[in-house]
């Protein structure tokens, strides 16, 4: 221990604060301060576009307004619907792909890299080019669907029945590789001796899958879904560029509605209350997610 004191330069404690300080300061200034500001605004009737007009304190009025507004619950329903289908499809397809890739055939590394490409792309740009694929007159997607079964002309983005599915398809196309990669890591973490022991006990392949494979992958799959859940709860960019929330409000997710209230109608107080409600919901998710993550790390 006495050796430690002989080192020259700053003490470890000083170095620790010097190293962490700037990051914490920046996060406080650009993340926490705005958040506190938003919480304060949520109790006022502030309009950010009306400079010079003093905001008045209105108590919980904004929160009551948000929670009682039927349209908000519609947006929440749209968001929940979007989350349910994207997470379900991504879990099933992602796990399926991971199981197949785990057969370790030749070239599976190259194929994995290729499959992963969509999720690295800019969601907004993805949204733009899918409007082209979905175009009812010239779109490739419509052509391919009609090639297999002639539905005649249909408009994925313009129809309020199909539009929710149009965003589910794009999100699934883009993010299935995410669950796939994480599930694959889970599959590779299962020690071989478990299967060897099962073989010795004459467990069938199906039993091995149910009792060994599935329980080992489950925490990984859960982690992937929590990540996707948080991301899709905040979903904004891809959907804005693809359907911009329409037709009507068929695909108007919570974030898109928030943007309209905050940046088009400039109802800062009201939209801040909505933002705080969304944030509290996500934070709840986040807590669960960190717990699952820690469980995985312990293994």
């Amino acid at each position: 221990m006495s050796v430690k004191k002989k080192f020259k330069g700053l003490s470890d404690k000083a170095v620790a604060w010097l190293f962490i300080g700037p990051s914490v300061f920046l996060l406080l200034a650009i993340n926490i301060y705005p958040l506190i500001y938003a919480i304060r605004m949520s109790f006022t009737n502030f309009y950010a576009n009306k400079i010079g007009r003093e905001p008045e304190f209105v108590g919980l009025k904004n929160y009551i307004k948000v929670l009682n507004k039927e349209a908000i619950w519609e947006k929440m329903q749209v968001t929940a619907n979007f989350m349910f289908w994207t997470l379900l499809l991504q879990a099933v397809i992602g796990l399926g792909l991971a199981l197949l890739l785990n057969r370790k055939f030749k070239g599976n590394e190259l194929l994995t890299t290729l499959i992963v490409l969509p999720m690295m792309l800019s969601p907004a740009v993805v949204g733009v080019f899918w409007t082209y694929l979905y175009n009812p007159q010239v779109g490739l997607f419509n052509y391919v669907i009609n090639f297999f079964h002639d539905f005649g002309s249909f408009d994925m983005i313009g129809s309020s029945v199909l539009a929710p599915w149009s965003i589910v398809i794009v999100d699934t196309w883009m993010w299935t590789p995410f669950t796939m990669l994480i599930c694959l890591a889970g599959l590779r973490s299962v020690p071989n001796y478990l299967y060897e022991a099962a073989e010795v006990d004459r467990a069938s392949k199906w039993q091995q899958f149910i009792y060994i494979t599935l329980p080992s992958v489950l925490p990984f799959l859960l982690l992937a879904l929590l990540f996707r859940g948080i991301e899709n709860f905040k979903m904004f960019d891809m959907v804005v560029e693809l359907t911009s929330g329409g037709p009507g409000s068929a695909t108007e997710l919570a974030s898109i509605n928030l943007k309209r209230e905050a940046f088009e109608k400039w109802k800062t107080g009201y939209s801040s209350a909505f933002a705080v409600i969304l944030f509290v919901t996500i934070f709840g998710f986040g807590n669960v997610y960190v717990k699952v993550m820690n469980k995985i790390k312990e293994r």
């Binding site: 700053l10 920046l26 904004f236």
Partner: protein, 314 residues
């Protein structure tokens, strides 16, 4: 022992079946991207022909349209002009138009570069410092601080956009490169800290301790011993930060307009005559996605770690 291994190994039939399904999936999943790249080499008419053309005569019209502004002119006016000086002028004139100047695309693209590189450098630098401290020292409330850092990533961007908008307006940072660099640095910090902490945990403490016994100070040991050791991790983290800044849309569309606008909000606004100019959008998309695809291939070994904030390592 050889036989005991073989029953765990999937049979050659099941391997072939798996490979076939995966190849089919790969082909299908790459069609949208390939289609956009193909569209960028079509001319305006063949991009809107039905049924969609798989075989077409390649044209650079999309790229020309992406980089230029054009205006339609009468045939008489075009005849009165001196002959076109280069191939792209000729191409534009064959559409009865003249080039009136460069488009905004190059500016938006370089904004993406400046903001991307600036914020990546800053967040990796600050992140490396914080990660080292979290990795090596006893920091009071360490787990809470780490969770706090991670939780900032969970904010919906729109929820903090209004206060940042107001704050930036007061500070004169609205629609500036510096403002966007600071903002993206902060958003990326959580990823940088978490990823780099994982990489630094893997570097044995003994290295820098040995250096310190040889007379290095803690700071010297960090810069001369630890950082070079962590280079792979730093590079991987940097690429992840770069990809995030490159792809970011929500803050960019809300907080920038003319001066510091990046490419993602710009690409959707490329409009030709009579609607969206698909070859030009295809060209912009292709040029914009290309770096990310290259990065992904470089990153493939660290992909898993990056997308899970270091929670899952291979």
């Amino acid at each position: 022992m050889d036989t005991s291994r073989s029953y765990l190994e999937p049979s050659s039939f099941s391997k072939k079946l798996a490979a076939t399904i995966i190849i089919v999936y790969t082909v299908i999943t790459l069609i949208p991207i390939s289609w956009m790249v193909m569209t960028s080499f079509k001319n305006v008419n063949s991009a809107i022909s039905y049924p969609p053309e798989v075989f077409f005569e390649p044209s650079l019209e999309g790229y020309v349209n992406l980089f230029t502004n054009r205006s339609r002119q009468s045939q008489e006016y075009l005849d009165s002009l001196p002959p076109p000086e280069n191939w792209y002028e000729e191409l534009v004139r064959s559409r009865e138009m003249v080039i009136t100047g460069p488009s905004k695309f190059l500016g938006r693209y370089s904004n993406s570069m400046i903001i991307g590189f600036g914020s990546t450098f800053a967040s990796v630098f600050l992140g490396a410092l914080a990660a080292y401290a979290f990795s090596r020292f006893r920091v009071p409330l360490k787990d809470d601080l780490l969770f706090f850092i991670l939780s900032t990533r969970m904010f919906p961007p729109i929820a903090v956009a209004v206060p940042i908008f107001i704050m930036y307006r007061k500070l004169g940072l609205g629609d500036t490169h510096l403002g966007m660099i600071i903002l993206y640095t902060v958003v990326n910090l959580s990823l940088a800290v978490w990823l780099l902490k994982g990489f630094m945990d893997e570097i044995p403490k003994e290295y820098e301790e040995a250096a310190m016994i040889d007379g290095y100070s803690r700071l010297q040991a960090f810069f001369k011993v630890v950082l070079p050791q962590a280079m792979t991790g730093i590079a991987a983290t940097a690429i992840f930060c770069m990809i995030f800044s490159w792809n970011e849309y929500a803050f960019a569309v809300l907080l920038t307009q003319f001066n510091a606008q990046t490419a993602p909000p710009f690409i959707p606004t490329i409009i030709g005559e009579g609607g969206l100019d698909w070859p030009a959008i295809g060209a912009g998309t292709t040029l914009f996605l290309l770096p990310v695809m290259i990065f992904t291939i470089i990153l493939r070994k660290h992909l898993l770690r990056g997308i899970t904030f270091g929670a899952v390592r291979k």
